[in-house]
């Protein structure tokens, strides 16, 4: 992996460390997200995040090839 790719990966890992800690610490929601299709919303958010991250990785790899 090139310098750009390594830097992107490192930044992603830093963010992940912080998010993992946040999620670990946040107490469970004491209520349900009323009026919205929760499972569908959850799956769609996860899908969108994955797609964005894949694009970012691809762009950083392509950029590093030039």
């Amino acid at each position: 992996m090139s310098g750009t790719g390594v830097a992107t990966r490192k930044a992603e890992e830093d963010d992940r460390d912080i998010f993992v800690e946040s999620i670990r610490l946040i107490p469970p929601l004491p209520y349900s997200p009323t009026r919205i299709p929760a499972e569908k919303l959850r799956n769609t958010i996860i899908q969108v995040v994955r797609e964005r991250q894949a694009k970012v990785r691809e762009a950083s790899l392509n950029g590093s090839d030039q």
Partner: protein, 212 residues
């Protein structure tokens, strides 16, 4: 001392104009590892609004009060709700022997504006957000981190990196949610606050899962 319960009562306006600030504040609270709580989060006809608010203030070890929107309405009356709920929280804090809430933060639009209309809170150090979601987010972040001996991974790194990171994370979250809303074709146009908090949490989870 008992462990803090990491729940933050959010006392702020719920109107359309305030939404960018509300979203930023809720985002910062979640990223800090806390749960934002709102009076409107539960549909419960058996309790009136005041009972819900008092119950929430009791349940939450932290409370955040934005008194920036107390201007006169079209009937020339000020909005009393936010200062009133701040009064309830302060009343609880001063009436309990161990000091009640672990943390209480007051936000306003400009520094020292409260001197002219709300001087009883002099000494409580209200902080100004200047109507900027970014500044409000940083205020909330610094406030929660300052109360949190158990906070994350590498505290120094977080504190130093956060001014830039919080903003870029929020922008990433907003861009992702725009895409999510598009895929729901209008179903999410009126996302309730409980849905916003749920979405932030799922987004944080998704960012950890996707990288694992």
């Amino acid at each position: 001392m008992a462990a803090i319960n990491r729940q933050v009562f959010i006392n702020c306006p719920l109107d359309h104009d305030y939404y960018p600030l509300l979203e930023a504040v809720a985002f910062a609270v979640c990223v800090c590892g806390y749960t934002p709580r709102f009076p409107s989060e539960r549909v419960e006809s058996g309790l009136n609004r005041l009972s819900k608010i008092v119950g929430l203030i009791d349940e939450c070890d932290f409370s955040l009060h934005d008194i920036s929107r107390t201007e006169l309405n079209s009937n020339q009356l000020p909005r009393f709700n936010m200062p009133f709920e701040l009064g309830l929280a302060l009343g609880r804090k001063y009436s309990i022997s161990d000091g009640g809430a672990a943390g209480l933060l007051i936000l306003d639009r400009e520094p020292f504006r409260y001197h002219e209309s709300f001087s009883d809170i002099s000494g409580c150090d209200p902080l100004a957000h200047y109507d900027s979601p970014q500044i409000a987010m940083h205020r909330v972040w610094k406030w929660l981190v300052s109360h949190d001996d158990a906070h994350p991974v590498n505290r120094d790194r977080l504190v130093q990196g956060i001014p830039v990171k919080l903003q870029s994370w929020l922008e990433m979250f907003q861009a992702d949610m725009l895409e999510v809303r598009g895929r729901f074709e209008g179903e999410l146009d009126d996302l309730p606050l409980s849905g916003l908090v749920f979405s932030i949490r799922v987004w944080l989870e998704a960012n950890t899962e996707a990288l694992s």
